[in-house]
């Protein structure tokens, strides 16, 4: 145990800071706002391309994929620096960190060239088609069917909660290719271009704003022909792709919760007029503890000593800490929290800027944190079974 930083990481951090200081787009350039997680305005495409060309997009990848072969501690420093400055490396975050990253891990050379690199260079945007009306926490129960006809797959079915689908060029879609196999063993992954005949997207709004906050989609597939070369990771090998799709991102997901907690420390200091302030101390404990547990998980991952289920602890703890503190901040501000539209934090043009809105909205927006990426209930089960060794139900 030691407090000091590794000189290699500090040099990396310094170089990144220098790059960001010199190259961050100015607010007037970034006037056009992104309307969904796959809608990338021209200035944001240029920003992402600049990061790609300079090896700052996915730093742990080699240069041909927009990186510089960074180590895991350097990658953590990268996430921390971007988070602290509230900078998105991409306005199609799932495109680069899930879809392109999955293709780099599981795709063919041609898929990397045709899909991964254009997504990384912001020439294409992508969405992730996992959840279905009947398959949420039980993802392996998905029913969208793909029939192998010999020269293509014929896809029929429906996805839902597909973030940004209506603005995306391609959907990485989890489909059932073998209905007779055990449910985890009959799943495959297809790259389905949204312009394919038979694909239709129906976007629908978040509870926060019916007009400006439209990211969710229902996606319907009706006799969609998908070329065989769009199969990712092999026939019936989709579950491995699902588990590997977040890769190191999963180990670092906690950084975004630490950032939310830090925002709350900055924005919500109680005046002391509304009684009990102790939640503000709890918030600071949570922030410090989350960082420590995050570093611990990272060291353990590098040394091969970490239980992978430790990531569930970080996700559960981080998302619930943000939720609890946000509720307290909302209560602290009383009826003012109901104002809409309203700002509670300095404006920021380098992200979607949703987290500086009204206190009610900030609280409401913590729920995707406890629902998406495995609900809190699922993560508690994982901790109980894979860390504490309790029997499966």
């Amino acid at each position: 145990m030691k407090l000091g930083d590794d000189p290699e990481v500090e040099a990396f951090r310094k170089e990144l800071s220098g790059f960001l200081d010199a190259n961050l787009p100015r607010p007037e350039v970034a006037a056009q706002r992104s309307r969904s997680s796959a809608h990338v305005p021209q200035w944001a495409r240029e920003w992402q391309r600049l990061l790609f060309d300079n090896g700052w997009l996915l730093p742990n990848q080699p240069p041909e994929y927009g990186g510089r072969n960074a180590t895991l501690p350097q990658l953590l420093a990268y996430q921390e620096e971007l988070s602290r400055r509230r900078v998105y490396q991409s306005f199609n975050p799932q495109g680069i960190s899930i879809i392109a990253a999955s293709l780099l891990s599981f795709g063919t050379a041609e898929q990397k060239r045709e899909w991964a690199i254009p997504i990384l260079r912001a020439e294409l945007t992508a969405a992730l088609g996992m959840s279905e009306p009947g398959a949420g926490s039980d993802l392996a129960g998905l029913r969208t069917r793909a029939v192998d006809t010999g020269d293509h797959f014929l896809v029929n079915g429906q996805k839902v909660w597909t973030s940004g689908a209506h603005d995306s060029d391609v959907i990485l879609t989890f489909v059932r290719t073998d209905p007779d196999a055990p449910k985890h063993k009959g799943i495959s992954v297809l790259l389905i271009p949204t312009r394919s005949e038979g694909v239709s997207c129906r976007p629908f709004a978040y509870m926060t704003d019916p007009v400006n906050d439209v990211d969710f989609n229902e996606v319907f597939f009706t006799d969609v022909k998908v070329p065989r070369e769009n199969l990712v990771g092999g026939l019936n090998k989709g579950w491995a792709v699902a588990n590997g799709s977040l890769g190191h991102e999963r180990t670092m997901l906690w950084v975004s919760y630490a950032e939310r907690l830090e925002d709350l420390v900055r924005d919500s200091a109680p005046s002391g007029e509304h009684g009990d302030n102790e939640w503000f101390a709890t918030l600071q404990l949570d922030l410090q503890a989350l960082r420590l547990l995050g570093y611990q998980q990272l060291s353990g991952t590098i040394n091969g000593t970490a239980n992978p289920a430790g990531v569930s602890v970080l996700k559960l703890f981080g998302s619930e800490a943000v939720q609890a503190a946000s509720r307290h901040a909302m209560e602290e501000h009383g009826c003012e929290s109901l104002l809409f539209p309203h700002r509670t934090a300095p404006a920021s043009h380098m992200n979607l800027d949703n987290f500086g809105s009204s206190w009610f909205e900030r609280y409401a927006r913590t729920f995707p944190g406890t629902i998406a990426g495995g609900t809190s209930e699922i993560h508690r089960n994982i901790i109980a079974e894979r860390i504490l060794g309790l029997p499966r139900s």
Partner: protein, 306 residues
């Protein structure tokens, strides 16, 4: 920063566990002389935390905690003297001499007074042991010698020490609970397969991980004389108190009636955990102290020291 035990620290933990497994059934003074002979009292803060976590895990009955984390930081040395537990020490730093750990059996007592630290032989001090729920816990009320004015200022090391000891007791409660819900069957299955039970156990685990991380961070800031040490100690003590609230309630609840029975050894750890929160003030007091201590480090906690 590197927040994992190094090889030496892992070996120390292993050897502490092995030692405690052997000394478990020995009388108190034999346990005490084993600890002192192994040099545990001289351990630096992180290593001391490793020892204390394991002592908390076995609800250690010796005056180790008071000697290492109450007396030593005030006196700047270890105590002299003999007694049932030879060379035990404690300190009065609450400004009142109330509920002082091991004051009834300390060879020396360090008093924090308006004039500074005064060290008094335990035999010369009026210390009256208080009967408590935990029969293994020694606490006493101390009457300060005439003419001394006691002052209140809790050493950070004492907060850290009680925090990590409490975490150790909580870990024992969780382990005991997990073992119990795996073997206890109802409706034809182990109760540990029920989601309602799993979720309570998972919450215990998360609370312990959080408190343990903050306790070791406190030890690390003390070891490196980092400017964040005081805030870290307040955080550690608050988190340990919060942790025991969850662990006590869920652990006793999941044991059902057997957990409430005298014959079940769970009681020792439950009592040790609660005492860990109540001694040197509860979580709530330390949360308030943290808010009063200074403005939070908003920019970057890791950078503040630089």
């Amino acid at each position: 920063m590197e927040f994992e035990f190094d090889e030496d620290q892992r070996l120390l933990r292993q050897s502490v566990r092995e030692t405690l497994a052997k000394t478990k059934a020995l009388p108190e003074d034999a346990q005490w002389s084993t600890y002192t002979e192994l040099g545990w009292l001289e351990a630096l803060p992180v290593e001391l935390a490793i020892v204390l976590e394991e002592l908390g895990y076995v609800a250690d009955p010796t005056p180790f905690l008071a000697t290492a984390t109450w007396f030593a930081p005030l006196a700047g040395r270890l105590p002299d003297g003999a007694g049932a537990c030879g060379g035990a020490g404690t300190a009065v730093f609450d400004g009142a001499g109330r509920y002082v750990l091991d004051a009834d059996r300390a060879a020396e007592v360090a008093l924090l007074t308006a004039e500074g630290v005064t060290i008094v032989p335990g035999g010369e001090l009026a210390a009256e042991r208080v009967a408590t729920f935990d029969q293994r816990l020694h606490v006493a009320h101390v009457t300060a010698p005439a003419g001394t004015t006691l002052v209140a200022r809790i050493p950070d090391l004492a907060l850290m020490g009680l925090a990590i000891t409490t975490v150790g007791a909580c870990r024992k409660i969780l382990d005991t609970t997990v073992a119990y819900v795996k073997q206890r069957h109802q409706f034809g299955v182990p109760i540990g397969s029920f989601q309602a039970v799993k979720h309570k156990a998972a919450d215990m685990y998360v609370a312990i991980e959080r408190a343990k991380a903050l306790a070791y961070f406190s030890a690390l800031t003390l070891a490196e004389k980092d400017p964040r040490a005081h805030r870290a100690a307040l955080m550690a003590k608050a988190a340990a108190g919060e942790c025991q609230q969850v662990v006590f309630a869920n652990g006793l609840q999941l044991h059902g009636a057997i957990g409430f029975a005298w014959e079940n050894e769970l009681q020792f750890y439950l009592k040790r955990a609660v005492a860990g929160d109540l001694l040197l003030s509860t979580a709530s007091v330390h949360r308030k102290a943290l808010l009063a201590a200074q403005a939070p480090d908003t920019a970057n906690g890791e950078k503040e020291a630089a």
